[in-house]
Amino acid sequence: MAVKDYIREKFFPHIWCAGCGHGTVMGSMIRAIENLGIKKNDIVVVSGIGCSSRICGYLDFHTLHTIHGRALAFATGVKLSRPELTLIVPMGDGDAFAIGGNHLIHAARRNIDITAIIMNNSIYGMTGGQSSPSTGYGDLATTAPYGNIDRSFDVVKLALGAGATFVARSTTYHVTSMIKILEKAITHKGFSVVEILSQCPTYFGRRNKFASAVDMLTHYKTHTTPIGSKKKEKNPDLIERGIFTQQEQPEYCAEYDKIIEKASQRKVTNGKV
């Protein structure tokens, strides 16, 4: 199918600003799904609140646009109830690291078969450019006009520490590898976390000396490097991209089914099990 066959054209134009990276992520998601050949009726996309979450309305799948930070909890309910469906949860950095941080680490701990795609633009874009937990130290934001003093989360380390069984990072510059990573993440049986650095020229770029979206994409090109590259040894500040872990572990819905099986086999005598 063509990309447009996955899109609800009647809801266009979309709300994203010119130069926003989220459309690139949406396009990559569609291409990954097309390559995998998953039927549209078998995909549920659950999102939270923010620019990234509006992806839901534009995609022709079962789509659920929920409340801030809790998309993974809603997705857990859908998945446990219909484990055969493919669950994809696009989130922003505010959704994933701030209000939804707890849902993220517990979904990782449980290893439930959901793919979390975190579009990290280092800012709360929809509400006017407030600093988020991924705004870097010293970066400027409407709520940090003299520079941000909070240290930012490294979501890769966070997800690895919480036990996610698939963890990867890509950027909106590296579209070809992003599609490959998304294919692997969606196919992975367990909780997948894919961080995608996605530019927000309107609220992050303007305040932080990026003249345009092109400048920001160039920055992703020059300031990232494949995992374990020689460049990283020489320049430790480079951000690594690629797949950090991909491992087989018991999946939550499968484990839950086993418990149901076990419980239904126990005999009840005189009200006692």
Binding site: V44, H65, I67, V78
Partner: protein, 321 residues
């Protein structure tokens, strides 16, 4: 709370339970279920509050939170019960009403009812009415409008994972479920959310009546307080005093007409509850003469006793405190 909404959208009947602070935490997601018209059942066993309050002593302080706990204009259904058999019956009712009206339904129990162990007779399958989800008859390939009400106001659903792919959002939305800020659509949706419940108050109202003929003084109560109220009524009837009890099992939408009708011919009304008068004020609003409504309450974490009610009754009867 979020997980049960997700599960409900796949076609399952769902419920969750909490007490006190947990009910506060669920409010945002309850609003989401209201806005998206997703059937679900929430049990809140009331304890003393606000905040961590009084775990785990009895209270009925969450009556107004059940009504207005989530933000924005909306309507809600809240049921209660005074004994275990009724807890069972009201739980079934809650599921039936949540499916019929596509709304979250709150089961507002209290600590005394929740911790009481008493006999429960389980009905046989088929003995009680069970409402199944109304599903769309629109075939695959034909446009399904998830938020286009039928003439009777009901919205047939389609399961996530089924043949119709649609959008569900907590934003104001059009008949496709797509976000909208068109004033006509907002007006229509707000009315849909409120009218589908407020307009069916009579159908949703559940009450029980005890010694309701020739009543001079009517007690109105609900939940475990109704047990105390019934004790007082039985006791006084034995002495020849004309007391009666109206037990409310539906708190929201408030059964205004049922209460007004029942109160019209009585001289005094005493509302018996464990808060500062959350239903007392609703009764005053409902009746023709608010001055004849009195409150007998208990708010110190202990269960309301017949003495608490008798103290008020004595004042009304001119016998002093």
């Amino acid at each position: 709370m979020c997980a049960i909404i997700g599960a409900s959208l796949t076609g399952k009947k769902v419920m969750t339970a909490t007490s006190g602070p947990g009910f506060s935490l669920k409010q945002e997601a309850i609003g989401f279920a209201v806005m998206t018209e997703t059937p679900c059942v929430i049990v809140n066993v009331q304890r003393g509050g606000p905040s961590t309050g009084l775990p785990t002593s009895v209270s009925q302080g969450d009556v107004m939170q059940a009504r207005w706990g989530t933000h924005g204009e909306h309507a809600i259904i809240a049921l209660t019960a005074s004994n275990n058999q009724d807890v069972f019956a009201m739980t079934v009712e809650a599921f039936n009403l949540s499916e019929t009206f596509r709304t979250p339904v709150i089961l507002l129990f209290d600590e005394v009812v929740a911790h009481t162990r008493e006999r429960l007779i389980m009905p046989e399958p088929g003995e009680i009415n069970v409402v199944e989800r109304l599903k769309t008859s629109v075939k695959e390939g034909t446009d399904y409008h998830p938020y286009l009400p039928r003439e009777d106001g009901r919205l047939p659903m389609s399961d996530f994972g089924g043949v119709h792919r649609y959008n569900v959002t907590g934003l104001m939305h059009d008949m496709w479920g797509f976000p909208s800020n068109n004033s006509k659509i907002i007006y229509g949706l707000t009315h849909q959310l409120v009218d589908k419940i407020q307009g069916h108050t009579k159908e949703i109202t559940r009450t029980k009546e005890f010694f309701i003929d020739d009543v001079d003084c009517l007690l109105i109560s609900y939940g475990s307080s109704a047990r105390t109220a019934l004790h007082v009524v039985e006791n006084r009837r034995a002495r020849g005093e004309n007391l009666g009890l109206l037990e409310l099992q539906t708190l929201w939408p408030f059964p205004v007409d049922a209460v007004r009708k029942r109160c019209a011919s009585v001289n005094h009304i005493i509302v018996v509850e464990m808060n500062m008068g959350q239903i007392f004020h609703e009764v005053k609003k409902a009746v023709d003469d608010p001055d004849k409504v009195f409150l007998a309450n208990q708010i110190d974490g202990s269960f309301i006793t017949p003495t608490d009610v008798l103290n008020i009754l004595r004042i009304i009867q001119g016998k002093g405190a």
